[in-house]
């Protein structure tokens, strides 16, 4: 799990710049690349068992916006989804050990 989380955080760091750049770039391939990268991040949250509610619909809405040619909206939604995934993965990393402090006794 630690590897998954580490790679997710690296991916997230790599994503930050392309999202900012792609906002000025209405070409579909740039937007698609961002969406694919965020989807990959979401898949890692799923694997970690910590996907947050609503992230899927954010990505679905982002795809729909991209399909309708609204790149700015697509990237805005993708950014929200990216933050969700980062936080979910951070939660997963923290909980690897933190849960043991809550055992009832």
């Amino acid at each position: 799990m630690r590897d998954v989380v580490t790679s997710a955080l690296v991916l997230a760091a790599c994503l930050a710049l392309p999202v900012a750049r792609a906002a000025d770039d209405s070409r579909t391939p740039a937007v698609e690349g961002v969406l694919e990268a965020v989807e990959s991040l979401r898949a890692q949250a799923v694997t970690a068992g910590h996907e947050w509610l609503g992230t899927r619909s954010l990505l679905d809405e982002a795809r729909a916006a991209a399909a309708s040619g609204d790149a700015a909206r697509a990237l805005e939604l993708a950014e929200q989804a990216r933050r969700d995934c980062e936080l979910a993965l951070e939660q997963a990393r923290r909980e690897e050990e933190a849960w043991q402090g809550r055992v009832l006794r």
Partner: protein, 287 residues
């Protein structure tokens, strides 16, 4: 928990190896001790609620809410799950296409068996809940699987629960690394915070059990699995334990797992073991 060196190093290494071999995705922290966990779990609620006898927890929040308990007892005079139980009994006895019935899969014609579920299936290496066992029986007799939230499945589990009332919960975790790992994964799930609200099962049903959530008291996890499926007044129908798990996970802002997913079966395994010794009393009525 994962430490290098020291006296526990060997145990931790064995846990890591076991986890890796089982493909669990994360290591077992150490050898599980379900009985020590159960004693600690019971002790916690006894200390928090010294005036509530342990056996009262099978009634959920009615164990601590006098007013709601009186209303509930009135409802139990004409229980809304009664027809479901009758339907379940009829379904249990109905022959399959091959002339056999559920009675050929379950001992004692299905009476007095609820308290032993979930069980660890050493052949599959997985936790088998009553619902999975019912569908396994159907598959062996050429019948299609029932949906886990179908009327038929809820009726069958309601009748089996009814026919097992009064039996002490007696879930076993055999001395098998796979069973212990499954139990430990369920335990971990129970204590792990998840979702946008960053909450664990134990937050609501352990630490804050007895506190108000809107107009109702939060029930304690102790005794939860003894009385499912339940008739929910809010929904006007029967609800399985996994459906409740599903709702709780959604409520904390996490993407829920499917009913009878490995995650939920293992959570049920842990939770039910914690209620060992308490009487099976399903089905029940809940708000």
């Amino acid at each position: 928990m994962i430490r290098r060196g020291g006296r526990r190093g060997g145990v931790v290494a064995a846990g890591l190896l076991t986890g890796a071999l089982l493909g669990l995705g994360f290591p077992a922290p150490a050898r599980a001790d379900p009985e020590a966990d159960r004693i600690g779990f019971r002790s916690y609620f006894q200390q928090r609620f010294p005036d509530v006898p342990a056996e009262a927890w099978i009634n959920g929040m009615y164990a601590i809410d006098e007013g709601a308990r009186q209303q509930w007892q009135e409802i139990e005079d004409f229980p809304p799950y009664e027809f479901t139980v009758e339907e379940g009994q009829a379904l249990f006895q109905d022959p399959f296409g091959d002339g056999r019935s559920y009675g050929d899969c379950f001992p004692d014609a299905g009476r007095g068996i609820r308290q032993r579920y979930p069980r660890f299936d050493s052949e599959t290496g997985e936790v088998e809940t009553l619902e999975v066992a019912i569908n396994g029986c159907r598959a062996r007799h050429g019948e299609p699987a029932l949906s886990y939230d179908s009327k038929e499945m809820l009726a069958l589990t309601a009748w089996i629960a009814y026919a097992s009332r009064g039996r002490p919960m007696a879930v076993e975790v055999p001395d098998d690394a796979r069973a212990l790992a499954a139990y430990e994964e369920g335990k971990r799930f129970y204590y792990t915070k998840r979702g946008r609200l960053d909450m664990a099962c134990v937050d609501c049903h352990g630490r804050y059990a007895g506190a108000f959530i809107r107009g109702d008291h939060l029930s304690a996890s102790l005794g939860h699995p003894t009385h499912f499926p339940v008739y929910r007044l809010k929904l006007g129908g029967m609800v399985s334990l996994h459906k409740r798990f599903h709702g709780c996970i959604r409520d904390v802002g996490a993407e829920p797992f499917d009913e009878q997913s490995r995650e939920f079966r293992r959570l049920e395994y842990f939770l039910t073991y914690m209620s060992n010794g308490l009487e099976a009393n399903g089905p029940a009525v809940r708000k």
